[in-house]
Symmetry: none
Amino acid sequence: MAQKSAPDSTRRSEKSRRAIYAAALALVAEVGYPRTTVEGIAARAGVGKQTIYRWWPSKADVLLEAFLDLSGQAAEAAAAAGEEYAIPDTGDLAADLKDVLRATVDELLDEQFQAPYRALAAEGVVNEKISSEFVSRLLEPQLQLYVRRLEAAQEAGEVRPGIDPRIALELFVAPLAQRWLQRSGPLSHAYTDTLVDYALNGLAPR
Amino acid sequence: MAQKSAPDSTRRSEKSRRAIYAAALALVAEVGYPRTTVEGIAARAGVGKQTIYRWWPSKADVLLEAFLDLSGQAAEAAAAAGEEYAIPDTGDLAADLKDVLRATVDELLDEQFQAPYRALAAEGVVNEKISSEFVSRLLEPQLQLYVRRLEAAQEAGEVRPGIDPRIALELFVAPLAQRWLQRSGPLSHAYTDTLVDYALNGLAPR
Amino acid sequence: MAQKSAPDSTRRSEKSRRAIYAAALALVAEVGYPRTTVEGIAARAGVGKQTIYRWWPSKADVLLEAFLDLSGQAAEAAAAAGEEYAIPDTGDLAADLKDVLRATVDELLDEQFQAPYRALAAEGVVNEKISSEFVSRLLEPQLQLYVRRLEAAQEAGEVRPGIDPRIALELFVAPLAQRWLQRSGPLSHAYTDTLVDYALNGLAPR
Amino acid sequence: MAQKSAPDSTRRSEKSRRAIYAAALALVAEVGYPRTTVEGIAARAGVGKQTIYRWWPSKADVLLEAFLDLSGQAAEAAAAAGEEYAIPDTGDLAADLKDVLRATVDELLDEQFQAPYRALAAEGVVNEKISSEFVSRLLEPQLQLYVRRLEAAQEAGEVRPGIDPRIALELFVAPLAQRWLQRSGPLSHAYTDTLVDYALNGLAPR
DNA sequence: AGATAACCGAGACGGTACGTCCCGTCTTTTT
DNA sequence: AAAAAGACGGGACGTACCGTCTCGGTTATCT
C-alpha cells in the first residue's frame, strides 16, 4: 500500500510554520474566512504554496492548527502567570458560574477573537473531520472545566447527586453558544446570569 | 442614481424557479454544500446562469429560499392533514416537551434533511445576512411554538411566573442544537428526556 | 461518444484572438519561446487564461496560428501591392534563384522574424502534430513556388527533363535551412550563390 | 570575486554519472524530451538532484553529454571491431555516398536512436549554447568524414577542382537532414540515391 | 396583428484560486 | 568533500467557478 511518501517532519521549517499560522490568523481577521485563500496565506507568510500543502490538507486544517497553537500559547502564558487553569470555587456555585460566563460573553464579543473561532465553528458544521478535531481539542477541554466544577458542587451538596455534570453544563453553556453562533438573540451579562438561575433552580415552581 | 433595473417579477418563470430549488437541494444532498456551485445548479435545473443571478445574489440565498419553500410545503401538507401547527398540550408539560424533542431528534438524524439545514447553519455562522434570514424565517418561528407552550404552562402553574419563556426554552433546545451542529455529543431520546427533566427541576437540590 | 463540448466558434471574440496573437508574437520575440508562458500571453493580451485554453490546446498551437495569421496578412499585403506571389522568371534560372535565396538569407537574419519561426521549427522537431501543421501550412506552400519555377525552367530547357523538381529544390534550399536552424555554418549571399551554382552544374567534372 | 567553488572532479562518482546518462536516455525515449525532468532523471538514477546540478547546468547539457558518451562508446566498439572510422573509398564516389546515406536513413528511422537526437536538435534550434556544442562535437565531426571523401574524389578527378567540399556535402546531407527533422518528406533509399545523382551531375543539361 | 419589450437558455468572457509539478537552492546526514 | 535525500521559495500548469456580458428565441403585454 504505497503511501503518498509522507514528508520528513524532522526537517520541517519551524520559521515557516509560525509564519503560516500568523498569516492565516491575520487574514481571517482582516478579510474573513471565505476570502482567505491558501495562496494568500502563502504570499503573506513569504512561503511557497507547496509548503502549505505538504503539511496540511486544506485551509481549514491550517486555521485549526493555528488556532490551537494560539490557544496553547495563551494557556502557557496563563500558567506561567500562576493562574490556575480551572473555574474558581468560592463555595458559591451560582456566583462562580456567573463570573465565568460573563467573562466568556466578553470574549465572544471581542472582534479579534471571533473571526477565526467562528470560521472554525462554521467549517465544523459542514466538515466532519474538522468538527471532531475542533471538539476534541478545543471545545471538550473547556467543557471539562465545567464538569469538574459541577462535581465539586455535587460533593458540596449544591447539586443533586444523580445529575450528570456533562449534560448539566449544557443547560447554561449551549444557550450562550447558540445565541453567539446563530445570532439568535443578544448576549449580555444579564442573560447569562439568568441562564444560571434558571438552570440551577429549574423552571418548575418549588 | 441609476438602479440596476430590478427585474419584473410578474414575468418570472415559475417552472425555472421550482427547477432551481429542486436542483439546489439535490446537489447539496449529493455532493455537499461547498461543492455545490451556481453553475452546477443551473446545469442541473436546465437553466441559464443568469436566471439564477437575476433573482438571487448568491448560492446561499438560493439554498435558503429553496429550504424555506420546502418547509412551507411541509407545513401546508401538515395543515391540510388537519394537524395543528403547535406543540401539543396534554396538560403535562414534561411529557409534551419530551415528545416534541424526540421527534426533533429523529428529524435531525434524517440524512436527507440534514444536508441543506447544516449548510445553511454553517453559512449563517459566518455570513450575517444569511444568518438573520435563517433565524427570523426558520428558527424563530419554531422557537415561538415553545414560547406559546411555556406560556400555557405558566398559566397552568406548571412553570414559575417570573420565568421568561423565550430564555427558558433555550435550556433544552440549545443543548440539542449544539450537539447536533458541533457534534459535541450523541443524540438520543434518553438525552432529550434528561434535558427536559434537568431544565424543569433544576440542578440544585429541592 | 461524448465530446468535450466544443465551444461555439460563432460567438468567439475576434478582439481577444487578435490580442492573443499579438501578445504571443511579442513575448516570443522579447523573452524567447521557452520563457513565454500561456499565463504571460493571457496577461499581456488582457485575456483570461481559459480563453486561450478554450481555443488552443497548447502554447505551441497558439504561436503557430499567430504566425500563420501574420504570414497570411503579409501575403495579402503583398497581393494588394500588386506583387505576384511567385519566384520571378527572367529566363535565367540561376540568377532568379540567387535573387530569391539572397532575400531569404536577409529574412532569416532578421531578428524580429527569427524568434517565432525558430520556436515553431524547434517545437516541430519534437512534436509531430505541430510539425505537420507547420510543414503543410507554412513550409510546403513556399517550396511549391520553387517547384513551379523549376518546372518552367524544365520547359525552357534549362533543367534536364527527368529531374523531379520537388527533390531538386532541396539541393539549395535544405543547406540554407540547415545552416540557419542548426547554426552549422555562416549564412551569406556568397554562400547561397555557390549553392545554386553547385546544384545546377553538379559536382562532377563536365 | 568569489567563484561558485567549482567541484573537485577527481572525487566525482563514476557510478552516478553513468546512472544519470542511462536514466536520461531512457526517459527521453520513454516519455519524450519535454516531459523528461531533472527530478525524474535523479529519481530514476537513484541519485540526489544536487548531484546533477553540481556537474551540469541544465537537463539539455545532461542529455548532450549522455548522447556524446553513447556515440563515443559506439565509435569505440566499431574501432575495436576493426572498422575504419571513415567513409569507404572504392573509387566510385557515387556508390560510396549512396551506401553511406542508405545506412544513415536506416539509423534515422531507428526509434531508439531518434528520441535523444531529435531532442538535442530541437533544443539546439532555440538554445545557442547547446547548438554550438551539438554542432562542434557531434555534427561537424561526422560532416568532416564527407569532406575527406570528397577531397579524395577531387584528387581522383571525380569532383571538379574548384569545388568547396564543406559546401558540396550539404547538397545531399542537408536535404536528408531537413526531411528528417522537419518531416517535410518521406525518407527512403531511393530518395538518397536520387540526391547523390542530382548533386553529382547537376540539374542543368550536360 | 405587429411591435416591443422582458425573460430565458446558452455559454464566451476577464478573472481568481485551486491543487500539482518542477525548478534550482539549501540543509542535513551518511559514506 | 561528494553524495542521497528532500524541504524550501517560487512560478507555471491546466481546471473549475465566479459574476458579467451578449446572443438568438420565445412569450406576453401594449399599442
